[in-house]
């Protein structure tokens, strides 16, 4: 359903046309030079290859959509195949874990066409996790390097994979060799040297920064924190980590807490916050249990999963120091979902072996947790439809303003006019018109 909605989504005006303009104006090799604060050479070269080689505009846009849809499908299918539930308990835990994966803000925010940067990296991260936990094969080393380079090439957040492999090696993961860890450390060092050699052009704050209950523009952030920006950097990094764990803050702003404090919270906000807090609490309980076993029994897959979740979170936080967005936690989401699987399964087993009272209480709590995440997963589908609808409205309602604003950019205007038909002629998906109370549960705002 989600993929079908993505397929039917009009490619938006904002971001997309500007990206295609860049692609049309620059030779593909131009994107290899890291002279801007954003460095996504593989993303731009992939789009460029599509743009310059696919025949019609329709084919180009279809392939660009597939660049978003295929990684998402691969991620979900690989996730389910990896968990491979063998019992009823496993199956229930796997279902909840898939809901966690699909319902997480880190995934939801990465479904925006054509910004496929991180949605490509997420299945690559899962593939790395699967490889390091398998018996070693000669091709594992080149595979790990290629997967990491591909993820980094699509977005800086791909660097998350490097500490993951190093920690996997440290925890004696069968498929993570010393050579792999060393090779990726070299890759990381080379990347850092390459980026720092061009750092003169980086602004202090690239985008608007969320702080507390509000948000400030980059110019204001420079004025207020320019002499010592590290507090804001730390805050933004922590915000990204907390967003994965607690669905709050979003973009660095504690919007749900603000709504609760002001008595304006909606049902979906309670569901997002509650289900995340409960799931993170469950993961904490399971993770500590697993960590305690390490000393006696050595590193298990579960203990390693918990540690890699922490490492991926930390890496996502560090890499989003400049500003926090939900999508920047995307690389940690597969690990959060894996941890959710193990934690939920452990909780079911624990509850089943408890007395009636405790089991009943646990059954109710786990049911609510599962229901909350399933509602969030449905919310993701409806959000994708809402985005599709908004993209169409954007095409219908912003053309005159854009024709004026970009009058001096002929390529931009040419591309925009050529894409208008795909934006307006076919009806875009719309959110299902559930009763208002249900819309409130799924978090779909009124149009």
């Amino acid at each position: 359903m989600l993929s079908v909605s993505l397929w039917q989504t009009p490619v938006p005006v904002s971001e997309a046309v500007a990206i295609f303009e860049d692609i049309a104006n620059q030779p593909p090799t131009r994107f290899l030079t890291p002279d801007t604060s954003y460095y996504r050479p593989l993303f731009h070269m992939s789009i460029s290859a599509i743009w310059h080689n696919a025949g019609t505009l329709e084919t180009k846009l279809a392939l660009i959509k597939l660049l978003q849809i295929v990684p998402f499908l691969v991620l979900v299918l690989m996730f389910v195949t990896h968990l491979r539930p063998r019992s009823a308990t496993d199956a229930v835990a796997a279902a909840v874990a898939v809901a966690v994966l699909v319902g997480s803000p880190g995934l939801r925010d990465n479904l925006e066409i054509p910004l496929s940067y991180t949605i490509v990296g997420m299945p690559l991260a899962l593939a790395v996790w699967i490889l390091v936990n398998r018996e070693p094969r000669p091709w594992h080393l080149p595979a790990l390097i290629v997967l990491t380079l591909a993820a980094v090439g699509f977005k800086e957040q791909g660097l998350v994979l490097i500490p993951l492999v190093v920690v996997a090696w440290w925890t004696r993961a069968p498929g993570a060799s010393r050579a792999a860890a060393a090779a990726l450390v070299v890759v990381a060092a080379a990347y850092v040297v390459l980026r720092l050699s061009w750092r003169g052009s980086w602004p202090m704050f690239e985008q608007a920064v969320g702080l507390g209950f509000g948000e400030i523009e980059p110019s204001e952030a420079v004025a207020r924190y320019g002499t010592f920006p590290y507090f804001v950097y730390a805050y933004s990094g922590a915000s990204t980590m907390l967003n994965v764990l607690f669905a709050e803050p979003t973009r660095g702003t504690f919007s749900i807490v603000r709504a609760i404090v002001r008595g304006q919270a909606e049902t979906w906000q309670f569901i997002h916050l509650g289900s995340s807090v409960l799931m993170t609490g469950l993961i904490g309980w399971w993770g500590i249990r697993e960590a305690k076993r390490v000393r006696a029994a050595g590193w298990s897959v579960e203990a390693r999963a918990f540690l890699l979740l922490l490492v991926s979170l930390l890496a996502c936080g560090v890499l989003s120091f400049n500003y926090s967005r939900d999508r920047l936690g995307g690389m940690a989401v597969p690990f959060y979902a894996i941890a959710a699987y193990y934690a939920f399964r452990a909780a079911v087993r624990w509850a089943a072996e408890s007395g009636r009272l405790r089991m009943t209480a646990a059954a109710v709590a786990l049911l609510l947790l599962s229901a909350g995440w399933h509602a969030r997963a449905v919310g993701t589908i409806e959000r994708v439809r809402l985005t599709a609808f908004r993209n169409q409205i954007e095409w219908l309602a912003t053309l005159p303003a854009r024709r004026l604003e970009f009058a001096h950019r002929t390529t931009y205007l040419r591309i925009m006019e050529s894409m208008t038909s795909q934006g307006v002629d076919r009806p875009a998906p719309r959110p299902t018109l559930y009763p208002e109370s249900l819309m409130d549960v799924f978090g779909v705002p009124p149009r």
Binding site: A88, V92, A95, A352, A363, A397, R403, R430
Partner: protein, 196 residues
Amino acid sequence: MTAGGVITGVVSAFRRTRGPAKAGHYYEPAPDSRRGLAAWLAIPTLAVALGLCAIEAWRAIRPRSALFQPPFVYSLADAIAVGELPQAYAFIRAGQDPNEPIWVRHPVFTGRRWVRVSPLLWAVATRNGQAVDMLIAFGARLERRENSDAVCLAQRVGDQGIERALRLNGAPTAAGDCPASTKDDPVLTHLLNGFN
């Protein structure tokens, strides 16, 4: 796992699980308790899966159902008035001239009279800025006589955003030329002298 299986599992889980452990007693976990608990916890997954399947099946059978589409509008005027931008555009795409006056009636804007106005003026009167932009994007000509009062109307309804958009797109600047109006004068009718 079928719905019947879930119910059976849930019932068996709570029936076969022994009471809480007491000092000096050890209760073996009931072999079915885990399966039963799993069945109970499968309820959200099954509910969502069945619900979504049913809804998508209904979407395939009745794509125009009220669950999937807003109420159908019968004219460009209605589409603009209710803010249904895609449906408004559908009329233009189907061949309706965005400059051709349309019949409209409104208790406030026209004093319940049927009047003919251009779609652009109607969009301004209803303060539908998106429709204004859509009409300009897809063929409404601001220099045409039917649309020449758009800026005055935007001033009259007090929508600075629309007024700004009209001016930016080349609407005649009519700051001093707007017809005088009285408080009780319906917004549209005072602009339509000689037009109906």
